[in-house]
């Protein structure tokens, strides 16, 4: 009896092994086919197509506001849709809502955990979400009464089995998308705290996510420690596309304004642009002199500029089409950990391990770029310069 059992088990194991080998072979041949298909369409490089576009010359960026008040490293920030309020979170467990124009603090919440790695402003501007080492994402409604204790109205929405790395409201205050060190992303209903959809596919911690611009439909992109950037369908939970060209953890992902591409920033000191319709990486933004990782990336409104916050305390600004660096901004005294362009594109805010946030914008353009412009545009720029100088000398 025992001999028959063990013989049938051995046969079963043989069948299983053959089936596993068969699946592995098919998997390898499909991967090769994918590479071939992608390579066939790689007829030209983005910067070659972009040769016909005029160059940008050098930009000068200037810090306009410094927000001081956090007691420790600033880990994350987000803009409110009203283009002036900012929420930021820090290692000391504090979440602060600022008025960026006046630099006043409007609200402050103390979280029960340290390392609040994620924070987000609700589209209505009436609530903020945050989380970190507590493995949760909590929503705090913001009240107009400054004296009211915000912590009392706190709502626990998401529960992961490891730290919360990023969170974002969808188009309304009703749903939140989260990513976690447990390797998954999840979509939650804010009111009930119910899990609506979970996204499995990353082989390690998921560090960042970004929702596609509303016109492009229900997808989002995530990046992780497995060096992969995955694009997901929010309704089905399926991974639609996957990109693996980075050589280290992907710390930040951001959609191009049209929704047809996205940029990523990684510990391998490069930013990369992936086109979703060509299904491949189309540009790398790197320099031999840049050896520190990128913590955060964002596009300007037209998608022509890519801002990257680096671990060497600087912000590098790249020409997305030509692949060259057009500006470098100094000022932070420690790593830049988070970077977002304001909703109306007039400025960008950076948060750093030096405990501060800085709001910066363009200051002027170089003479070279002015000369290469057409007469009508040149005249407009001359008028701008005239008023600029008036301001400086007045």
């Amino acid at each position: 009896m025992y001999w028959i059992c063990s013989k049938s088990m051995a046969t079963q194991e043989l069948q299983i092994n053959e089936s596993l080998a068969h699946l592995k072979t098919e998997s390898e041949s499909l991967k090769t086919k994918l590479e071939e298909e992608r390579a066939k369409l790689h007829d030209v490089e983005l910067h070659q197509v972009a040769e016909k576009v005029e160059g940008l010359g050098q930009f000068v960026m200037k810090t306009r506001r410094t927000l001081k008040g956090h007691g420790n490293k600033v880990l994350c920030m987000d803009w409110c849709k009203d283009k002036r309020r900012i929420v930021s979170s820090s290692q000391d467990g504090k979440v602060i809502v600022w008025d960026a124009f006046t630099t006043n603090k409007e609200h402050a919440v103390t979280m029960p955990c340290t390392w609040v790695m994620a924070c987000a402003y609700a589209p209505s501007g009436c609530a903020v979400a945050c989380g970190g080492l507590d493995n949760k994402c909590s929503v705090y409604p913001l009240s107009l009464d400054k004296n009211e204790n915000l912590a009392a109205k706190k709502k626990s929405v998401a529960m992961h089995t490891n730290y919360l790395s990023a969170c974002s409201f969808t188009n309304s205050d009703m749903q939140i998308l989260t990513s976690s060190g447990d390797g998954t992303c999840a979509l939650w209903d804010v009111e009930s705290g119910q899990l609506l959809q979970s996204f499995h596919g990353h082989a390690a911690d998921v560090l960042c996510l970004d929702l596609a611009p509303s016109e492009t439909g229900n997808t989002f992109v995530s990046g992780g420690c497995d060096k992969k950037a995955n694009v997901w369908d929010m309704r089905s939970g399926q991974c639609i596309q996957s990109f693996e060209t980075h050589e280290s953890d992907i710390n930040s992902v951001r959609y191009y304004p049209s929704g047809d591409a996205f940029a990523s920033g990684s510990d391998d000191a490069t930013c990369r642009l992936y086109d979703l319709r060509a299904d491949r990486e189309v540009a790398i933004y790197s320099k031999e002199s840049i050896i520190f990782g990128v913590s955060s990336v964002d596009f300007s409104l037209s998608g022509r500029l890519l801002f990257g916050g680096y671990n060497d305390y600087t912000i590098n600004v790249w020409d997305v089409l030509k692949g060259t660096r057009v500006s470098i901004l100094f000022g932070h005294e420690n790593r830049v950990s988070t970077l977002r362009v304001s909703p109306d594109g007039t400025a960008f805010c950076t948060g750093s391990w030096d405990h501060t946030l800085r709001v910066s914008s363009s200051f002027s353009f170089s003479l070279f770029s002015v000369i290469s412009l057409s007469p009508e545009v040149l005249l407009t720029h001359c008028v701008f310069f005239f008023f600029f100088f008036l301001q400086i000398w007045a």
């Binding site: 299983i16 596993l20 998997s27 369409l41 983005l46 306009r64 086109d275 060509a278 409104l301 037209s302």
Partner: protein, 76 residues
């Protein structure tokens, strides 16, 4: 017998994972793709179309800049 059972579960898991990978790869391989030249041209067109409306790119009159430096007032 116990050893047999745990290796059976392990095999079942490996097969499930392999099957999922193959299905995922099949879906990805059958996708429609665009040439890089066309995709790049579209990205370029988007940039050029929206360039003038991008404050960080082209700047705008200082009077409109909400973050302009505050100048001290002089009382006349």
């Amino acid at each position: 017998m116990d050893n047999g059972m745990s290796s059976k579960t392990h095999n079942a898991n490996s097969i499930l994972l392999a099957r999922r990978t193959v299905l995922q790869l099949r879906t990805e391989a059958s996708r429609e793709r665009m040439k890089v030249s066309k995709a790049s041209a579209d990205l370029m067109n988007y940039c050029t179309e929206h360039a003038m409306a991008d404050p960080l790119l082209v700047g705008f009159p200082t009077s409109d800049n909400p973050f302009k430096d505050k100048k001290p007032c002089t009382i006349l």
